[in-house]
Symmetry: C2
Subunit: 518 residues, 2 copies
């Protein structure tokens, strides 16, 4: 007994938490209870019709069926039900009149007409564009069969149809009034919030992927849920997955939102709900590059940590600025505010250009030059440090901020490049950590290809070559990561354009800054 | 009249085509018509009950509602309906007995009980894990209210409940027998075919992306549907989009398939339907890299055509072999056959390794060495052609096939490298087409950094630098494309593993080759 009491208690706690997480669900449940109660009171009081007894089921059925969570869904179902009932009623009355004239064959005609109607209605409702009216076809079929069958017995075709229709109208009336007038829940609002939330999800994922990459977060064993694209709580993964998976939910909400009358902040008569889905689609297009960035984290081929640090500041900056842009856009969607006149993408584009330039200048780090050119290592560290100043000089034409960052990067990298040292066999000169970031230190070069090739063939262990290839792939994977990040920055433009289109069509308010300026 | 006749004719043609495209839909519609016809005949003949007239609606309603396209959906709805009706009937009878004892307060008790039941049933059905039973809760609520309300009027609580239950059982019986015994349509089969079809879609997309990339197919203007991730007929795009978007459809089919009894080729009692979805998830994980490859085609930064041709053969080989593997796996899923004992991934992995090695050896093509090292162009073409033979010698330790391919590649690239020539200002030596693919030709190198830097600062137009950066980004984008393709090849392993798990659990038959060997 104590055990079951504890379980019941646990159930209550669960229900309480569930109710707290979305109080609208509690309200909705109460509204449903209220609508049913009202209807049964009306039936008990025999208002507004006298003889409700046996046909009361129609009113109850209508309430139970059309009482959906959102107003849009309720209206759409109500419309389907009304259309299905009315058209089926009309058709059935016509067919009944026809059947009566056939005399003896009446039953046969009725049965055949039921078969034909059943076949056609079912066939048409399976047609893809008919999907929103699926429920209407069901109601049509039910009404038609009911009127034909029960009308035949009672010979009161018209009365059956009319009573049924009146009771459905009663049920629909009660349902609609309670659902719309008391604390209405709008699908449009849900869609709006869902789109805004997607921005934050992708931003989190992006930040997670960039920070994780720079910290060399690696999965010891990649969770099989990621490998089979199932839901999983993972800071890098869940964010973009949520945004990508929201498609079907958005489609559903869009289907309901277009049924809703103007309300609250959505005042336009033809509110551009479609554009919310479009913005979300553009966001998804960005999320796909975040997904590809995550792919780099998941990949077997991992860039060496030291190398990541060389470009760390630039990578991080794009990540941070990109996430900032996403959050800002999400916020603007949420608060329905237009963008400020100045370019929101300035910072992130600048960061992307800086990374691009840096990669250009340091691209020797990304390729395994051993495979094609010999490089001698510098004699001592002192020269390297001198070299830093040379770099400073060289970079003078970049803006000041970027310059100081460059120097900081160089200072931070003093870890030995095991990567090169490890492969310093086969007669190739290796260079060590000190060389990194200071191309000037490559003081001497040998045109040693033919000799190298010979030595390669001499002690040419395939293992060495393979490991070279692997190391080269590791370094290049950083280039891949960087270009994906730059691609992400480029795709933001498209997202901003979509947002601007939405903000124009939906008449978002001007940002506060502008109001002050005016 | 002629116009409307033409439209009607067009409608017929459309319906005919729709029916031809999936004859099962025609069959299903006919089955629906048949079930309704059978039921109305039973009602006319007053079999098996005498007094069916007014309550006939319950049987009709049940058929219309539970008659779903697939057997799984029908059984699941039927179960929900049965459970909802029975539990609500029991509860209602209990409550009715209780209400009668309260005497005058009877109506009040009934109304309050309706409110509480309505509230609880609606609240619980909104709980996420209760989603498959949503319909059951609706039926529960409807039955409860109906018995309470109409029982109160007629004082025949038990009779109301029993009649209703018998009629629902009649309707369900007719519906189930017709739907299951005549040409059953299985959700499991749909799931099976959907998963197999996804393989072909992704394979098409992959081939399209690789071939298109090598032919430098570029979008003059990227369709806005791609930018907002909407459906579009595009050989590269639609394939992977279909596979990625299939998630919700697969979930739905899985939800129905688990209701279906063993049938046809799915003989196990607990058939591993979940594993089909898992395999599809692993396929999706591969499709994401195809998506990223398509991203390279969409990107603003495009690798120069000549450069693509250098690696063309290798890229194409991975594409072709990868698509072959996907199609083969799709075929095995479709025919439910295990994999042959030899490694299906051998070819594609070899192709990936070859590409990786080639990139390693030619990585100087991917970086803009001008930014960090001066390269002098060779004196004449003759030497270059000699160089080819040198390459031949150098590559002797690679296997013969790869060697010949390498040579072919070199021969095919004789297009001038506008890319380098264009930037041959700022005192940097350019090298021309002949150099491509023949590192040996870089006969002379200058340690010219400081002087170059000075000249950079002298006439250092930022434009030159920017264009250099852009050109370097273009070349590196090929590296990105290549690593994504290699990543795709790597992810195939996971897909093959998922398939093997499925083929074990689902008891796929052994491949024919093995049977012959035994």
């Amino acid at each position: 007994i104590i055990g079951s009491w504890a379980r019941l208690n646990g159930l209550f706690v669960k229900a309480w938490k569930f109710g707290r997480s979305d109080p609208r669900k509690v309200v909705f449940a109460a509204k449903m209870g209220l609508a049913l109660t009202l209807l049964s009171v009306l039936i008990f009081l025999k208002v507004p019709f006298k003889d409700l007894g046996t046909h009361a089921v129609w009113a109850l059925l209508t309430v139970v069926v059309i009482f959906e969570f959102s107003i849009g869904a309720t209206l759409s179902k109500g419309f389907n039900r009304a259309l299905g009932t009315l058209s089926a009623g009309g058709l059935a009355l016509g067919m009944a009149a026809l059947a009566v004239t056939t005399g003896e064959l009446e039953e046969v005609v009725i049965v055949i007409s039921i078969f034909i109607t059943g076949f056609l209605a079912t066939f048409i409702k399976l047609y893809p564009t008919m999907k929103p009216y699926e429920y209407g076809f069901r109601v049509f079929l039910l009404t038609y069969c009911f009127i034909m069958v029960s009308g035949y017995r009672t010979r009161e075709f018209i009365e059956t149809a009319v009573t049924r229709f009146l009771l459905i109208a009663l049920g629909a009336g009660v349902g609609l009034v309670v659902n719309i007038c008391i604390y209405p829940i709008w699908a449009g609002e849900d869609l709006h919030n869902l789109v805004a939330k997607n921005f934050a999800s992708v931003a989190n994922s992006l930040e997670g992927c960039v920070t994780g990459y720079l910290q060399c977060v690696a999965y010891d064993r990649i969770p099989s849920k990621i490998l089979t694209y199932q839901a999983l709580e993972d800071p890098m993964y869940s964010g973009y997955r949520t945004a990508v998976e929201a498609t079907s939910q958005e489609e559903t909400l869009l289907g309901f939102a277009i049924w809703e009358p103007p309300h609250g902040p959505y005042k336009n008569f033809k509110y551009p709900w479609k554009n919310y889905v479009k913005v979300s689609g553009a966001l998804r297009h960005c999320a796909f590059t975040v997904m590809a960035l995550h792919g780099c984290v998941l990949s077997e081929i991992q860039a060496p940590q030291d190398l990541r640090q060389v470009f760390g500041r630039q990578l991080q900056r794009i990540g941070t600025e990109g996430a900032k842009v996403l959050r800002e856009l999400g916020n603007r969607v949420k608060t329905m505010t237009k963008l400020d006149p100045d370019d929101i993408l300035l910072e992130v584009h600048e960061a992307a250009e800086q990374l691009q330039m840096m990669i250009d200048q340091r691209s020797y780090l990304l390729v395994n030059s051993e495979s094609w050119v010999g490089v001698k290592r510098p004699e001592n560290i002192g020269e390297t440090l001198d070299g830093l100043h040379v770099v400073e000089g060289q970079n003078k034409h970049l803006e000041a901020k970027s310059l100081s960052e460059t120097v900081l990067d160089l200072n931070s990298v003093q870890i030995p490049w095991n990567w090169y040292n490890r492969n310093s066999n086969a007669g190739i000169n290796s260079f060590n950590s000190a060389t990194v970031g200071s191309p000037e230190m490559i003081l001497e070069k040998q045109m040693s290809w033919p000799s190298q090739r010979n030595s390669f063939q001499g002690d040419g262990v395939p293992g060495v070559e393979e490991s070279n290839t692997y190391e080269s792939a590791r370094a290049l994977s950083l280039a891949t990561y960087a270009s994906l990040l730059i691609e992400f920055a480029a795709r933001l433009q498209n997202l901003v354009d979509s947002f601007k289109e939405l903000s124009e069509k939906a008449n978002f308010r001007e940002p506060v800054v502008e109001l002050v300026a005016e």
